[in-house]
Symmetry: C2
Subunit: 294 residues, 2 copies
């Protein structure tokens, strides 16, 4: 199976799980469920859920129900985008080529839609079938910490906001991005490992892989913000420079940033050595993260 | 022990748990932890955690660690207040007699502080000691559903926003308030029951109690908004009428509303019959909820 076919198949599985796990638009109050679904089904690439599933597949061929656990990551990711786009934060009108949540539903509903997706992510994990309760608890702990304030996603957002206009140093850059994007990407891989019952050695190898692709992902995101058009990205390009954000190109320049991304890709591959052919999809995902153009 | 002494003792226990469970202000990023703590330690009455502890005490004298589970309810309640006070929602400058979160930390940080409290609530439940994993999962499910979009707290907020300016009918009123305040208060009692290992009959009786005090709480809140000063309430009084909110006094008048609150108080007492002396604190809490003046 080519990576394209693999991604298409996994995307369909994740989308079906999201469809099943998020309340239908016909359920009251309809507005909030419409708003949740508007952002959730906006053409996201499902990177985090697919990383979770692919990581689980390194350990067990196809752990039943892993897509439900994986879907919780997309709910968290989507909530963070909705809140990040708000006027008080990044004030973005465009996301994945469509008007952002608050442009369509108003600010109040966008705030609540984010809160709702965050809440339902944990509800979904509490309702998982097919794994025992100790794994559910471990998944919930991993999702909460990787999206939280101590080294997690929210920590990164806060550093990012506070870093605007500050001198772009390597130390500050690392602090922002290890948390902002890296934590949830690493968490995605770890949740797959937990779901499938990884040994300590397997868990650590997959965590290392997650660290490397997390960093690679952010470097490439920063590069694309400089080099691509808004149309190609489906979101406003050039915003980092306009908002004086601390980015990899700002600190290291474009060329050195590209070299760093490539180094992280290779390190991610190296971390997967023990899994042999079982990790083929994770390797291809690392390649894709670095070689994408949007 | 008088109810005053009981409340003081439980408040101290809950405050100590919150102090221990929420990251210290010295932990990076400091701003977000300062914002979380600013709202969390703003003199809240800890109604939800104390209901949780008192419900658990109906079943087992003092279940170790129940205050940690109870604290998660205060985190959820506080997040909902922070987001509710935002300019896009209720636009309130005053809460518990102090400037609201966004007035002190700015809107961006207030949004993230709410998100953080919501996230850490689930992290705390995943880290509980002293109960088995199946109870942790049940607690997480209860917290998520009672604060979520299907009959939970967020559903109530949405109905509330959408109800502004609509004709104040009894049906709409019930739909708003059964969810907005009632769901989390009932959830508080249920979480105490789950923590202590309630039988089905005990769980159902405590749920019924929770329903009645939830309704009573909202009726009294609506009455106080009309009859008390901002100073006495520690928040802006008279806002419901100003915003054309659908309230109990608006639908039934003040006098009939007071009678309804009293009926709910009596029904709450009746639901506790099977617990005898073990439910003394829950009975006193029902009395206090109806007879409070702020």
């Amino acid at each position: 199976m080519s990576i394209k076919e693999y991604l298409a198949a996994q995307t369909a599985i994740v989308d079906a799980a999201l469809e099943r796990l998020v309340p239908a638009e016909s359920i009251e109050p309809q507005t909030i469920h419409r708003a949740m679904r508007y952002s959730l089904f906006a053409g996201g690439k499902r990177v985090r859920p697919i990383l979770c599933i692919a990581a689980a597949n390194c350990i067990a061929p196809s752990p039943a129900g892993v897509e439900d656990a994986a879907s919780s990551l997309e709910m968290i990711h989507t909530y963070s985008l909705i809140h990040d786009d708000l006027p008080a934060l990044d004030n973005d009108d465009l996301r994945r080529g469509r008007p952002t949540s608050h442009k369509v539903f108003g600010e109040a509903m966008a705030i609540l839609a984010g809160d709702s997706l965050l809440t339902v992510a944990f509800e979904v994990l509490s309702n998982l079938q097919g794994i025992d309760d100790s794994r559910k608890v471990a998944l919930i702990r991993e999702l909460a910490t990787s999206s939280g304030t101590v080294g997690g996603m929210i920590a990164g957002q806060v550093h990012d906001i506070e870093g605007e206009g500050q001198a772009p140093t390597a130390a500050l850059l690392e602090r922002i991005h290890r948390a902002k994007t890296g934590a949830l990407l690493r968490g995605s891989v770890r949740m797959g490992a937990i779901y499938a019952g990884a040994s300590v050695s397997q868990y650590e190898a997959l965590s290392a892989y997650g660290e490397h692709i997390g960093l690679a992902f952010q470097i490439v995101d920063d590069i694309l913000d400089v080099t691509q058009s808004s149309e190609a990205l489906g979101k406003t390009a050039g915003k980092d420079a306009a908002q004086h954000k601390i980015t990899f190109p700002a600190v290291y320049g474009l060329e050195a940033s590209a070299v760093m991304a490539e180094q992280e890709r290779l390190a991610a591959h190296a971390a997967l050595a023990q899994f042999g052919e079982g990790a083929v999809h994770l390797r291809e995902l690392a390649d894709l993260i670095v070689q994408r153009s949007a």
